[in-house]
Symmetry: C2
Subunit: 77 residues, 2 copies
């Protein structure tokens, strides 16, 4: 894995953080995944250690939970 | 302000996040401030909107609270 992955659920907190992250590390360096729409990637996010969104999983596998939009339980509904 | 500022307090969560942020955006693009040691910058951090550390203040002034190490109240002790 060479790109970071930014998981979000479309919430205002998520969208704001997404813009900040893209500005900071560049759109080419991050894959943006909307787990509210792309629900088959929820499991992947949870396995990576994502507990809430927005969250950034770094290329070395660390999870950075950024601010707080929604818990993964909320995303799964 | 053209650099981001990463505020932390030396906690393990902070140090881990600091390495991730430096890897992601580059050491030249972020000023690292240890508010536990550089206590005269606590007020600046609070004015920027930092509520807990580690936190990254972006060049446009947004605050990204990353994971959770300690509240600013704890830092002020």
């Amino acid at each position: 894995m060479t790109k970071s992955v930014f998981y979000h659920a479309g919430c205002p907190v998520c969208v704001s953080a997404e813009q900040d992250i893209i500005n900071l590390i560049g759109a080419d360096n991050v894959e943006v995944v909307h787990v509210g729409k792309t629900r088959d990637r929820i499991e992947e996010a949870e396995k990576a250690g994502v507990q809430s969104v927005p969250a950034l999983v770094t290329p070395n596998g660390n999870v950075l939970h950024i601010n707080f939009g929604a818990s993964m339980a909320d995303v799964k509904g």
